[in-house]
Symmetry: C2
Subunit: 264 residues, 2 copies
């Protein structure tokens, strides 16, 4: 069975002007990969309803799940759920359950439900709010044409907590329960272009292992290559076995080419 496809959509001008590095996307990408999804796109869009909707429309029917981060807060540029609503051709409506979550959050401090706070309870029609144990803005879970659109806040602590508690367990039910194992070595003294044909052949022999060389030094002056292997299989034991088998092949190749090998 082919792995279900996941897309990650990061919303926020602050990423597009280079002020913030997109660590949310790498965190989610790793989680989804190890759950058995194939992450096919990470896309960063501006805080614009049109741009958010454009990318979601592409993802619908193509990705099994899309996770959006950012744009759920109370400020004028938080417009992600408007974009989701437009992409699925639904209205944005006040969600009573989300309203209770927001109301409860502020009432703990004796703060009233203002218009800007209520805005965080406006969800696409038919969406389910996801509790936010850390901050004010609920998330949103929406299914449309066999695509699940999950919207989480951009604040990393909120995003991670909500993913782990309310998204991961539900996505695990549709993930293929594949086991993934990662391993790697460091090869000293071999230019990447010299080991390239061997990696190509090895990748052909092991279709369930993703073999990637990362040049960490100069190509010809004391070259250093970090070679990472990500193997997937039915069971953890099998994934580990494939990983170590590829590693042992890599070790032989590197030594044949006159390289020194270190554990990475």
């Amino acid at each position: 069975m082919a792995e279900p496809v996941a897309w990650i959509l990061t919303v926020g001008n602050e990423i597009l002007i280079g002020r913030i590095v997109n660590t949310n996307a790498s965190w989610l990408a790793e989680k989804l990969t190890f759950m058995g999804f194939r992450v096919e796109r990470i896309i960063v869009v501006p805080d614009s309803v049109e741009d958010i909707a454009e990318e979601l429309e592409r993802a619908i029917g193509r990705a099994r799940v899309v996770i959006t981060t950012g744009g759920l807060g109370p400020t004028y540029d938080d417009r992600t759920l408007e974009g989701v609503a437009r992409a699925v051709r639904r209205r944005l409506v006040l969600n009573e359950e989300a309203k209770r979550m927001v109301e409860e959050f502020y009432s703990r401090k004796g703060l009233p439900l203002t218009e800007d706070r209520l805005k965080m309870a406006m969800l696409p029609e038919g969406a389910e709010p996801l509790p936010n144990p850390v901050g004010a803005a609920p998330g949103s879970w929406l299914e449309h044409n066999n695509t699940i659109i999950v919207s989480l806040p951009g604040v990393p602590a909120e995003m991670k907590e909500m993913f782990s508690h309310y998204v991961e367990p539900r996505l695990a039910r549709i993930a293929p329960r594949k086991a993934v194992h990662e391993c790697g070595i460091r090869v000293l003294g071999v230019p990447e272009s010299s080991i390239a044909p061997y990696l190509r052949r090895l990748a052909r022999r092991y279709p369930h292992a993703y073999i990637k060389s990362h040049p960490k030094g100069h190509e010809t002056e004391n070259p250093v290559l970090e070679i990472r292997v990500l193997a997937s299989a039915e069971t953890p034991g099998e994934a580990e076995r494939i990983c170590l088998e590829v590693l042992s092949e890599l070790r032989k190749i590197a030594e044949e080419l006159g390289g020194a090998v270190e554990n990475a």
Copy 2:
């Protein structure tokens, strides 16, 4: 005049599995923003010719410039220029100038031009190779339907050196020579949802300033907001003036709401 649009296309499974954080994209995004471009997309695609071509086809005619990073090396999964060639409907051909660059690079160490090394000199027909002062793989500069497609390696040291030497000076000629100034403050004790309506009004009053609040603490328990302002104008002095004016307005608002203000 509207700012010219830039897209950043990052090629590499290693980003999509969450192993590598996309710092190349944020570095480029900041550079392009400060040059006067509006970065509209950062997209990460797998090492797949189809996926690379799909995103480039969308960018052509829409973005003035697309910068791709990654996938120029000698290994089996380095396929970016195949994707570029497909997107512009041209063949991938051995570029004589690129061949000289690669040949010279390896000959310094007395290494021959193997098939895998020669692969790095295969460019889309009509593309211009960009010298790589750090590593082996040349970059590529190609213009098609008013879109410039620049392809740079994924190794950060190579990418940065090549952008600064061979890309930035040429792009500066088409950038609007706008000045951009950035400033910010830290507001303590005000929930983001309380300052939200003021930010909305301020953003309307200052269309050339991008005002963004980043919650750094809890929304209601000792809230901390970092508010960043990015102002653009014809001259550096004018951009700075707008920035400081917005900052002073922000200061007033924060204090009226009972917050304390710190320099960020």
